[in-house]
């Protein structure tokens, strides 16, 4: 299988932050969601993949091109959208569309017009007058209408109202129809990641905590509610991320769930009452609070 990108043994050091030991692959045709708190290294990772930053160690390959050396060739097929990208305030959206169309021959005019309608944007308006949401949608339009083989999106839904967010998610899921197109997006909105991503990659303090297909990732975690009193050393079990006593109930969050767990808890006098799967949001917060170990 062709890889949309592959990172091996990546390190990138800044004065107050370092990305370390990152090895990661995205097979073509898949969507990867990148989660992590602010400062976890998500944007640095995206910048390495766009050739905007060079790694101090390791190898970056994007669509078969080695970066940063072959970034000119790779960039033809990469679409990158990030909130801090600048548009020319005094120019109209149409002017920007024509500019991008001149640089990228793969520009799909029909699709661009469809996105204009769907995103409810006025092409003849100067972008300086756009709201935050309109600016985000304009950047995405300029990126999506090129039909790049790899889309790299930094926080594509942050700060959008619920309607705009759905429009953006719908436009992103258009990409799903094509087996040769891939997406890597970072998001603080774990719901978006849970919904769209095939693979979840979890960064914390510049390190890769976990990267797995979404269903296996979610499947490892369970919330277990028991009746009884938790022994003090339960917190030390490596498969448990958190143990909380609340009245006569104990709430346990397991990071490595297995079918034997209820019996082992029962042998300690804890009667298991419920076992529920957990939403990514809950997993994410629990993992970060428990020190985010893999």
């Amino acid at each position: 299988m062709t890889a949309a990108f592959s990172l091996s043994g990546i390190a990138k050091r800044y004065p107050h932050f370092a990305l370390q030991d990152i090895s990661l692959q995205l097979p073509e045709g898949q969507i990867m969601g990148l989660v992590g708190v602010n400062g976890a290294g998500k944007t640095t990772l995206l910048r390495l993949l766009t050739g905007l930053a060079a790694p101090d160690a390791g190898e970056v390959q994007v669509l078969g091109h080695r970066l940063p050396e072959e970034q000119v060739a790779a960039k033809r097929d990469i679409g990158f959208a990030s909130e801090d990208m600048r548009l020319y305030r005094s120019q109209t959206l149409r002017w920007h569309m024509t500019l991008v169309q001149r640089i990228f021959p793969a520009w799909d005019e029909t699709y661009a017009d469809e996105l204009l309608r769907r995103f409810d944007l006025r092409a003849e308006q100067a972008v300086g007058g756009f709201s935050h949401g309109q600016r985000v949608k304009a950047l995405l339009l300029l990126c999506l209408a090129r039909r790049p083989r790899l889309l790299l999106l930094d926080e594509p839904t942050t700060g959008l109202d619920p309607v705009a967010r759905i429009e953006v998610l719908e436009a992103l899921s258009d990409v799903l129809r094509d087996e040769q197109r891939s997406v890597l997006f970072s998001s603080h909105n774990t719901h978006d990641v849970e919904q769209l991503a095939d693979t979840i990659t979890f960064l914390h303090n510049g390190r890769l905590v976990d990267s797995a297909d979404k269903e296996s990732f979610l499947d490892r975690w369970r919330r277990v509610v028991c009746q009884g009193t938790a022994p003090a050393d339960l917190q030390q079990w490596p498969e448990l991320a958190s143990v909380r006593n609340s009245g006569s109930l104990v709430e346990i969050k397991a990071r490595h769930w297995n079918e034997q767990l209820p019996d082992r808890l029962a042998s300690l006098g804890l009667q298991v009452q419920r076992v529920d799967s957990m939403a990514l949001e809950d997993i994410f917060v629990t993992a970060v609070r428990s020190g985010a170990v893999a």
Partner: protein, 126 residues
């Protein structure tokens, strides 16, 4: 999340909207249409196949399983799941058999749409 897709498809088959033998959308098509990831839809299709709701033929896609009794079977499965949940709740409450039967009978009495066997001679044959 795949469970939601499983439930939606099962509900459509139970309602008869999707009839036995009918083709299902491709995994990518359904994923794009409902804005969920491909892996989620694939997992849902695998579950539905294990449960006998759909059949997948390599290269030809998936179809609703060709059993005319499928909607009824699915509805019975659903009823059995509810019964198990009911028994589990009763056990947690510490109800004995007689009290539980009494509660069920009272509920049946006050429910208008459960016919008695005399009104509905075919009722138990399916």
């Amino acid at each position: 999340m795949y469970q939601q897709i499983v439930d939606q498809i099962t509900a459509r088959v139970m309602a008869g909207d999707w009839s036995p033998g009918q083709s299902l959308p491709s995994i990518r098509e359904l994923a794009a249409g409902s804005q969920v990831s491909v892996i989620t839809v694939r997992r849902a299709y695998e579950e539905l196949e294990r449960a006998g709701v759909i059949c997948t033929r390599p290269g030809k896609g998936s179809v609703v399983a060709e059993r005319s009794s499928l909607p009824t079977t699915l509805m019975k499965d659903e009823l059995m799941r509810h019964l198990e949940a009911l028994l589990a709740s009763a056990a947690r409450l510490g109800l004995d058999k007689q009290s539980l039967s009494r509660l069920i009978e009272q509920a049946i009495e006050s429910a208008a749409d459960i016919p008695s066997a005399a009104d509905n001679p075919q009722g138990n044959e399916r």
